[in-house]
Amino acid sequence: MTPTIPGSALANSEGQPPRAAGERALDCLLAAGFERIEPPILHPAAIFLDMSGEEVRRRLFLTAGESGEEFCLRPEYTIPVCRAYLSSGKAGQVAEYSYLGPVFRARGAQGGEQTQTGLESFGRRDAEAADAEVFSLGLEAAAAAGGAMLKARIGDAGLFDAVLDCLAIPEPWRRRLRRGVARGLSLEAIFSRPSQSALAQPGVLAALESADHAGAKALVEDLLAIAGIEAVGGRTPGEIADRFLEQASLRSGPPIEKEKRAALEAFLGVSGDPDQAAIELRRLAHSGGLNLNAALDGFERRNGFIAARGVGIESVRFSAAFVRDFDYYTGFVFEAHDACAPGAKTALSGGRYDGLARRLGAPDDIPAVGAAITLDRLANGEKS
């Protein structure tokens, strides 16, 4: 824990930045009933690598335990807080936490330690109200910490999933769309990727066009037997057969029908004022014959809660194409930057992540939503 320097904006004698900005943000969260938690700094690296992929490895500060297992310094708070919650005996119950402290990410010459503050809410069944509370508290805390002019963007990963469901997008395209949109690619870029691989066995694909799983599996087994290959390494003949079937279906039909593409295009193009967006989405759903009622009811309820909490709606923009990372977020997502801060990088970010608890070992999903503030990205926040 670092000492607070009350009312001081000056660096202390060791040249450390003052903590006052973070403390101000934390006070805001504590006042709202989010109990402070201080999870461990050291965690098994595999948890973060499993969750975010090998790309985060170069950002992690890694170290090895006595018997060689890899540990890392926490690169963020959500997973550590969620782990602490799951082992607290309160797993599944409502628990709301706030935090303030260092996170560690290698950033080249800029060093590796940043101060984050934030909040996580677990177990609440009133999802939209919880979303709105976490979002607005995040904005309030960021403002208290020195965010001079916060501009927020919100999105809904669950809504996008609902659209894919309604349109009955087949599996390989569904994966590509989710990932492509999360990476910020245009539909055109996603669809222009070669839809099938240059497999050497067009004959196999042709033979499989009308086959079912069992038939395809038998064919793959035959092929492997003829080639004298014993199946080793992770994938079963059944899985290989399913991929052939997928490829065969891509080969035989047009990738995605024109009308569906147009509907996706129209959906992803919706952006602007959240209330206006809701009207536009209703209109699109109606004209496209898509049953998005449940998802849109939730969307409108959340907009109402956000407005009721006094968040200036003029500083919030909705974008249907803003979904963040499907590996993690399952619903409401948001981020905000401080237009007055140099570089104006995302200073506040968060969203709903109902699937995390189960991936960390809980028997079921647990509703969860959180927000994190990187203090040195605020105009008057801390510089690290």
Binding site: S197, I229, E230, A231, G234, R235, R359
Partner: protein
């Protein structure tokens, strides 16, 4: 270490070479071809040595991984190491090292290989697709066994493959899929025989790096005047033997004047006058030309009036300009 010894006094020039096995023999042979005889002090078990006739040079014998480490730390000026190890172990290779010369041995490719049974996977795009499906189906990422953690990460990122985990493997990587500790591997292969024996196949576009042993200069080593002189001496001899190996001397007598013929030969066959200077007034010419152009040049000279043309191999050719050293000096800055 040696190169950083002393306050102000310049330490010796350090050349790091592999301490054992075929790599060491090949390195010795390479330097010997350049007329640089590496002498190991007190027999094969000593890890220090010298180059006969070059007193300012210290040869250290260390493992390949350590050579990269010493070059990165600026403890060795020159080192012999595979490009695979260099690119794996040292980030930012371009800014910290100069790859002076490929050495023609230690050839190996770093490749992505999957089980042969994956008959639906031939390219990285296939792998991406399969990795996504694997994860969607099992909730786990596909595991890649390798000792080339950094090379793998960079290559997979370039191909947009994200749904995988690296399992570090420090030996017998090719056995990982069979033993169930990984689904696929990234490893080094020379002939592909080891992969085949383990029922693995490389992907068509899965060659991460075509590696061979290189003579590598550390840009962070102390480059004082003595070190530069040693580097210049070593590189002059390497360049001399390399160029000689790839050139032929072509001699003939032409009806004078020969000036125009020489100029044309230089232009058409990439030849250079063997010892520079003015063309002999009696029509005697000597040219150095690329080995594969020598016969053609000789034939052409016959049509230009020569009666006999001789073509001879060269032992070493020294030139006032030393391209290898110039390349190094451009990187470390003028003295």
């Amino acid at each position: 270490m040696a190169a950083q010894k002393g306050n102000g006094a310049e330490g010796p020039f350090v050349l790091a070479v592999p301490s054992k096995g075929r790599l060491q023999e090949a390195a010795h042979a390479f330097f010997a071809r350049a007329g640089l005889e590496l002498v190991q002090g007190r027999g094969a078990r000593d890890y220090r040595g010298a180059i006969a006739g070059l007193p300012g040079v210290e040869v250290v014998y260390v493992s390949s991984a350590e050579i990269v480490g010493q070059l990165a730390a600026g403890q060795a000026h020159f080192g012999v190491a595979g490009e695979d190890l260099l690119r794996e172990k040292a980030p930012n290779v371009g800014a910290r090292f100069e790859l002076l010369s490929p050495l023609g041995f230690g050839h190996a490719n770093v490749v992505v290989a999957t089980p042969k049974a994956w008959i639906d996977v031939r390219t990285m795009a296939d792998l991406d697709d399969v990795a996504q499906a694997f994860r969607a189906r099992r909730g786990e990422r596909m595991r890649v066994a390798t000792k080339y953690v950094n090379l793998t990460r960079r290559f997979f990122a370039e191909h947009g493959v994200a749904d995988y985990r690296i399992v570090e493997s420090l030996g017998a990587t090719e056995g990982a899929p069979a033993s169930g500790s990984a689904e696929l591997i990234v490893d080094i292969t020379t002939t592909g025989a080891t992969l085949a024996a383990n029922a693995l196949k490389p992907l068509d576009d899965g060659v991460i790096l075509r590696s061979q042993a290189n003579l590598i200069a550390s840009l962070t080593a102390p480059w004082g005047p003595k070190a530069r002189q040693a580097a210049r001496d070593i590189l002059a001899r390497i360049a001399a033997s390399e160029e000689a190996l790839n050139s032929r001397e072509v001699r003939a007598r032409l009806r004078s004047p020969a000036q125009a013929v020489v100029e044309k030969a230089c232009e058409r066959f990439g030849a250079v006058p063997a010892i520079g200077g003015d063309v002999d007034p009696h029509g005697l010419i000597a040219l150095h030309c690329p080995r594969d152009k020598a016969a053609e040049l000789a034939g052409w000279l016959l049509t230009e009036g020569a009666e006999r043309v001789s073509v001879a191999a060269l032992e070493q050719t020294f030139a006032a300009r030393n391209a290898l050293y110039d390349a190094l000096e451009r990187r470390v800055g003028a003295a």
